[in-house]
């Protein structure tokens, strides 16, 4: 579904990604884990067209993404939920969701998208006339995901969806992601909480200093002694 090969990105002279390759299969949850500054967000931003790659390819169902403008990529069905939610604060919840519809374009005339988002996150229906900026962090994360779903994504990219949320809300958000995946949605997840990510995903890759240092099924990685040492032990402490 999504094939990344030999991707390298530099920002103002610093190589943020070095020769990154990975494949996300249709219908799976793929997790990218790794420490702060490893390049996880850069990779997502490159795929969604916000950051330009110097070399390499990213093919989405055979279509090259590199070099395409961000809004075209979103309209092709690769939709990113950005880090820190980024809801449009001065607009209402309903208006934010309506904005999400733009990405669907002519690809899908799904009139039930709003109902399905409301089913998934009932709080968004309750608060539809409220300004997005007045929602709690967890509600904003739900809004950001709901907004992306309005665009009928073929693959959903999530950047640190658990960041800054209380554990009970994180559980709620991840349960929603699992339900979406069960109904067939492909998900590429960037997450610092490695334990949570490996529990949720089918496949995963570990990014360090801009390189993929390990990849495999989530179950294998979760039992790898190095991963346990470096990632799972530490997340337990900070979680």
């Amino acid at each position: 579904m999504l094939e990344v090969s030999g991707l390298s990105v530099s920002y103002s002279g610093i190589r943020a990604l070095k020769d990154v390759s990975l494949t996300v299969g249709k219908g799976e949850i793929f997790a990218l884990i790794g420490p702060n500054g490893a390049g996880k967000s850069t990779l997502l931003n490159t795929l969604s067209g916000m950051v330009q790659a110097q070399t390499g390819h990213a093919r989405f169902d055979g279509v090259e993404l590199i070099g395409r403008p961000a809004h075209r990529i979103a309209r092709a069905g690769l939709i990113q939920v950005p880090e820190g939610r980024q809801v449009i604060a001065p607009l209402t919840v309903r208006e934010n969701l309506e904005l999400g519809r733009i990405a669907a374009g002519t690809r899908s005339g799904d009139r039930n998208a709003l109902d399905r988002v409301h089913d998934l996150f009932p709080v968004l229906a309750e608060r539809r006339t409220q300004l997005a900026g007045s929602l709690s962090g967890g509600q904003q994360q739900m809004l950001a995901i709901g907004r992306a779903l309005m665009g009928a994504p073929r693959i959903l990219l999530l950047d640190e969806p658990s960041l800054g949320l209380a554990p009970v809300i994180v559980r709620e958000v991840f349960d929603a992601l699992l339900r979406l995946n069960a109904s067939g949605l492909t998900i590429l997840l960037v997450e610092q909480n490695a334990k949570l990510a490996l529990e949720t995903a089918h496949h995963a890759a570990i990014l360090e200093m801009g390189r993929v240092v390990m990849r495999g099924t989530a179950a294998d990685l979760a039992h790898d002694p190095l991963v346990v040492d470096h990632y799972l032990g530490r997340t337990e402490e900070t979680a």
């Binding site: 969604s48 067209g49 916000m50 403008p69 961000a70 809004h71 979103a74 309209r75 939709i79 990113q80 950005p82 980024q86 449009i88 604060a89 001065p90 607009l91 208006e95 309506e98 904005l99 999400g100 733009i102 990405a103 669907a104 374009g105 907004r147 665009g151």
Partner: protein, 298 residues
Amino acid sequence: MLAQQLLNGVVVGSVYGLFALGFTLLFGVNHIMNMAHGAVFMWGAFAGLFAVTMFDLPFAAALVIGAVAGGLLSVVLDWVAFRPLRKRNAPEFSAIVSSIGANLILLSLAQQMTATRVMRFPFDTFPIRFYEILGVRVQLLQLVIMAVVILTVVGLVWYLQRTNAGRQIRAVAYSEGTSRLLGINPFSINFQVFFLSGALAGVAGVLIGLVFNSVHFMMGEPLLLRAFVVIILGGLGSIPGALIAGLLIGIVQVLTVSYLSAGMADVVVFSLLFLVLLARPTGLFGSASGGAARVARQ
């Protein structure tokens, strides 16, 4: 006497508000200080004037032509003066400098074209008719101007608040990056915002040209300076702020001219600006983050 002057002030001030609205819209959404906004206003006035003098069109058509001409000129300005800078991520200051240059070019062209003459609308452009309302003499033109300003503002607010396109503009004003992730085409938004901004200036140009019955190449310059006062007073990027501050400046100016002296108008207007900024550094309607429409672009 006072009521009469207040009316005159409201009429002039509402047109200032319209002019400032276009300026503040561009600032609110695109974070651009368009120093050529006065030239767009002036060319809009000329377009309306030529529609009347050369093609014998009625006043209403002159307004529409002034709006379209202002809108298109503003879009061309974007292509020539702003877009190349945006592509290279130039700092905001570069856009100010490049629009000052564009302003000079547009002024010189108008000066060449008119041989520095002041041009006037023909006498029969608009019927001169007066009404007595509560002891105040009201010109038909004044009523029509206020109606045009109200309709234009209502139309603009409706477009921004109630249409799909307007929602996208507000989203881009808040965060261009997030908007792109949602599939919003930034080029289309830029086009709309520049066109709307220029069209507002063009309408204001035709109206001011009629009110003072004078159209000349320098007519936009004092207005640009006053528009600064208006938008700073009203709060950068704030639409209601631009309108209310526009009215206020118009009234203060007219009252100063009639009760003190014409030369004192700018002194009073700018003193007012100082006083308001001392009390409220973000303007009357501006928030700490910089106004209703304008929030940091990401």
